[in-house]
Assembly symmetry: C2
Homo-oligomer: 155 residues x 2
C-alpha cells in the first residue's frame, strides 16, 4: 500500500470545505460561477481540490468578506491573476518579446486599478477611524470628569 488511493495532497469536497470553512454547496457554486477552474475529478466524478485551489478559495473569502466585493467582481480579479500565471508559464517557452511585454502591461494596469481601489477604501476607512477615535476620547474625558468630580454641571 503506497498511498492507498488518490491521496496525493488532493482533497475531496468534504475536507476542502472544512479546511476553508466554507460549505460544499459554496464550493460547487463558486465552481459553477467560474471562480474555480473545474477541479480535477476522480474516475467516479468526485471533485479533487489541490492546495492551489484552496489558496484560491482563501483569496476569494478575503476579497468577499474583507472588501465586500461581489463574486462577479472577484471573478474578474482572479481572471486577471490567471493571466498573470499564464505569463509566468510562457515566460521562457518562446521569445516573442513585445507580445509578452504588452500582456504584462495589461496585468500591471489591472493590478494598479485594484491598488488604487484599495487605497481609496483605506483612506475613507481611515477618516472613519479618526472619527471613532475622537468620539471615544470624548467619552473617556466625560467619564473621567464624572469619576473625579461627581457634581459638576457645566464648565
Amino acid at each position: 500500500m503506497t498511498t492507498t488511493k488518490a491521496d496525493d495532497g488532493y482533497l475531496q469536497i468534504g475536507e476542502a470545505a472544512e479546511r476553508t470553512s466554507l460549505t460544499q454547496r459554496t464550493l460547487r457554486y463558486y465552481e459553477e460561477k467560474g471562480l474555480l477552474n473545474t477541479p480535477t475529478r476522480m474516475d467516479g466524478g468526485f471533485r479533487l481540490y489541490s492546495s492551489v485551489d484552496l489558496e484560491r478559495l482563501e483569496r476569494i473569502k478575503e476579497l468577499k468578506e474583507l472588501l465586500g466585493f461581489s463574486l462577479a467582481d472577484i471573478k474578474e480579479m482572479l481572471d486577471a491573476e490567471e493571466v498573470r500565471l499564464q505569463i509566468r508559464a510562457e515566460w521562457r517557452k518562446d521569445a516573442a518579446g513585445a507580445e509578452k511585454a504588452a500582456k504584462i502591461g495589461v496585468v500591471r494596469e489591472m493590478t494598479l486599478k485594484q491598488l488604487s481601489l484599495l487605497d481609496e477604501k483605506m483612506a475613507k476607512m481611515n477618516t472613519m477611524r479618526e472619527q471613532l477615535a475622537e468620539r471615544i476620547a470624548k467619552y473617556d474625558a466625560a467619564l473621567l470628569q464624572w469619576a473625579e468630580q461627581p457634581a459638576l454641571a457645566l464648565s
Copy 2:
C-alpha cells in the same frame, strides 16, 4: 413671495434621491427598514428630507459600500449613534449622573467594537496592499529590463 412654499432647505424625495445618488425606492426602503426616522411630511403626505437626513444617507452609503455591512448591521450602528445624540440632548436636562455614565459606557463599548472591527479590516487590507505593490514592482522591473536589453533570456 418669500420662499414660495416649503422650500426651507427641505427636499422632497426626487431631489433627495438625486443628491445622494440613490433611488427613491431605496430611500423609502431604508425608511421602511428603520434606517431613517420617518422624515417630516408635507400636508399632502410628501416626504421632506432635511440636511440631517441627507448626511445620514451618506453615512449609510459609506458603511454599506465601503465596509460591506448589511443594512441590519448599519441600523444597529446608527441606533447607537442615536443614543449618543440623545445623551447630548439630555446632557443638561437633569443630573441623574450614574445613569448617564452607564449609558455613555454602553455607547463607548459599541464605538470601541466598531473601531477594532475597522482596525482588523484595515490591517488585512494593508497586507493585501503590500502584495499588490510587490507585484507591480516586479512588473516594472520586468518591463524595464526588456526596454533596455530586448534579447535577454535568463539571469
